[in-house]
């Protein structure tokens, strides 16, 4: 973890602590939303799914709060070096978390729809995939709050597993749809859910890069994109 000495002006440290705490709260809500949406999906619980959709407003409100605080710190404190990088990172991370919240909300909407269709077998992979991305979101924000670039890199590398799950799920769902046209509706919903989770993984990876830059001033070298389903042309 990176060393931090206190600022001579203590209220500056209070501002930064408050910013970290807001980001942390947003991250906690996102993680809960992902888990909640997937639970609603697994339990075929449309009411729980509806509650998840409603909760998204709280994440949006927190994003506004982060933005206001970050702008205030920039205006009043004129932060430099690692302080400046951290505040810019917080602004960007808040926007990403808001987006992750939207994905969780979309999953919850699909969960409502899925509750009314036939249960399909590949769905069992989805909770495992969700568990990985929810943990990625949690860990990457711990890395931000603790200023831990090693943890950020570790989360960044973990996205490979999410992509692997997604690629494998994509193939099973295609096969499943070809076997029985009745599976097309639920399979399509599940495919979108998986895509949303895969996107959350990508966003967590981006946050890992922001955290790494914020703490060290160095960029992580680009990881090759491994969602290869765009190249997929045949169900055979």
């Amino acid at each position: 973890m990176a060393e931090t000495t206190a600022h001579t002006v203590k209220s500056f440290d209070d501002d930064i602590a408050q910013l970290r705490s807001l980001i942390s709260e947003m991250g906690g809500l996102c993680e809960a939303q992902i888990v909640g949406a997937i639970d609603a999906l697994s339990d075929r619980n449309a009411d729980a799914a509806l509650a998840i959709v409603g909760n998204d407003r709280r994440i949006d409100a927190l994003e506004t709060e982060v933005e206001a605080l970050a702008v205030r710190i920039i205006a009043l404190r004129a932060p430099l070096a690692d302080d400046l990088r951290e505040i810019v990172a917080a602004l960007k991370i808040a926007a990403v978390l808001e987006r992750i919240g939207d994905y969780a909300k979309n999953i919850a909407k699909r969960a409502s729809a899925l509750a009314q269709t036939t249960r399909i077998q590949p769905v069992v992979i989805v909770p495992e995939m969700a568990r990985i991305v929810a943990t990625m979101v949690k860990d990457v924000l711990d890395a931000f709050v603790d200023r831990d670039p090693a943890l950020a890199v570790e989360v960044w590398e973990r996205d490979q597993r999410v992509d692997d799950y997604y690629n494998s799920l994509f193939r099973s769902l295609l096969t499943f749809m070809m076997e029985n046209p009745q599976h097309i509706t639920p399979s399509t919903h599940v495919l979108f859910v998986a895509k949303n989770l895969e996107r959350i993984g990508d966003h967590a990876t981006n946050v890992a890069e922001m955290v790494h830059f914020s703490v060290t001033g160095q960029y992580i070298i680009d990881r090759p994109k491994s969602d290869d389903t765009a190249l997929y042309t045949s169900g055979a």
Partner: protein, 273 residues
């Protein structure tokens, strides 16, 4: 560091982007300053170029003003001060016996924290230097130098109708621009500024900062400032001094976003002891 700018001149094109083309005005190598037995500055090496304003930052007593004052031998006036190392202006050793110190201080002009116009007319403030250095052949020549210097210092429009009024009758910011015009009048190579805005209001400060930017490219400019934001705004290169050592020197944009040394970071982010 100094080595980089030297190699930048030797290597025509750096990989990836064009090498920085610079005209070096002054070079300082291994400069140390002692006040009696106490060493106030330790082995500082730096280049002053025409293209890049250099800002010296650091806490009080860090050696930045001491170093600045070496560049035109202002430390000669301090009896106990002893300077070692080498400082060259256009390749000429400024501490050599043959160097005319009066001439040197015309070639390396200085602007101080507190504006210090002569208690004479605005016109005389500017004309005095060119007259004693024999830069004007006629009254018309002198008038031209006065007008040109005041124009370059951004003071002409405000001063042209009151050239015979006393320089001390101007506002603080105008007086500081008058001092800059006075330094420019003798056609210097380098202008040293020791906290030129710390006695000025924000508008006068902005005018001086704009002026520094306009003068860049024509003169080598070195500015000492306690105002970090000012260093960030006016300079292309920044040197951070601490306890007599130059801790870090580099592009201003790098120093203020991603400094290498933790002492630099702690100072600029307000964590310094």
């Amino acid at each position: 560091m100094a080595e980089n700018s030297l190699s930048a001149q030797n290597v025509p094109v750096a990989q990836g982007k064009a090498a920085e083309q610079v005209t070096t005005k002054m070079t300082a190598r291994d400069v140390s300053v002692f006040y009696g037995a106490k060493q106030a500055l330790k082995n500082v090496s730096i280049d002053v170029t025409q293209e890049n304003v250099v800002a010296f930052i650091g806490p009080s007593g860090c050696g930045k003003s001491t170093f600045l004052r070496c560049l035109n031998r202002m430390n000669d006036t301090v009896d106990s001060a002893r300077v070692t190392g080498e400082i060259k202006l256009e390749g000429e050793d400024i501490y050599a016996g043959s160097m005319d110190v009066v001439q040197l201080r015309a070639r390396v002009g200085m602007v101080f924290q507190k504006p210090n116009p002569f208690p004479k007319s605005i016109y005389e403030n500017i004309a005095y230097g060119p007259k004693i250095h024999g830069l004007a052949k006629s009254k018309a020549d002198l008038d031209n130098i006065v007008e040109g210097s005041l124009r370059r210092a951004g003071l002409w429009d405000e001063a042209k109708d009151r050239l015979q009024e006393s320089g001390t009758a101007l506002s603080g910011g105008q007086q500081q621009r008058l001092c800059i015009a006075r330094a420019i009048a003798v056609d210097p190579e380098v202008i040293l500024m020791d906290e030129p805005c710390s006695a000025l209001d924000p508008i006068a400060t902005a005018k001086i900062e704009e002026l520094i930017d306009e003068l860049r490219g024509k003169y080598g400019i070195v500015i000492v400032t306690h105002n970090m934001q000012q260093a960030a705004r006016v300079s292309q290169k920044t040197a951070f001094f601490h306890l007599g050592t130059m801790v870090e020197y580099g592009d201003t944009s790098t120093i203020f976003t991603n400094p290498v040394e933790s002492r630099t970071k702690d100072y600029i982010t307000g964590r310094y002891g």
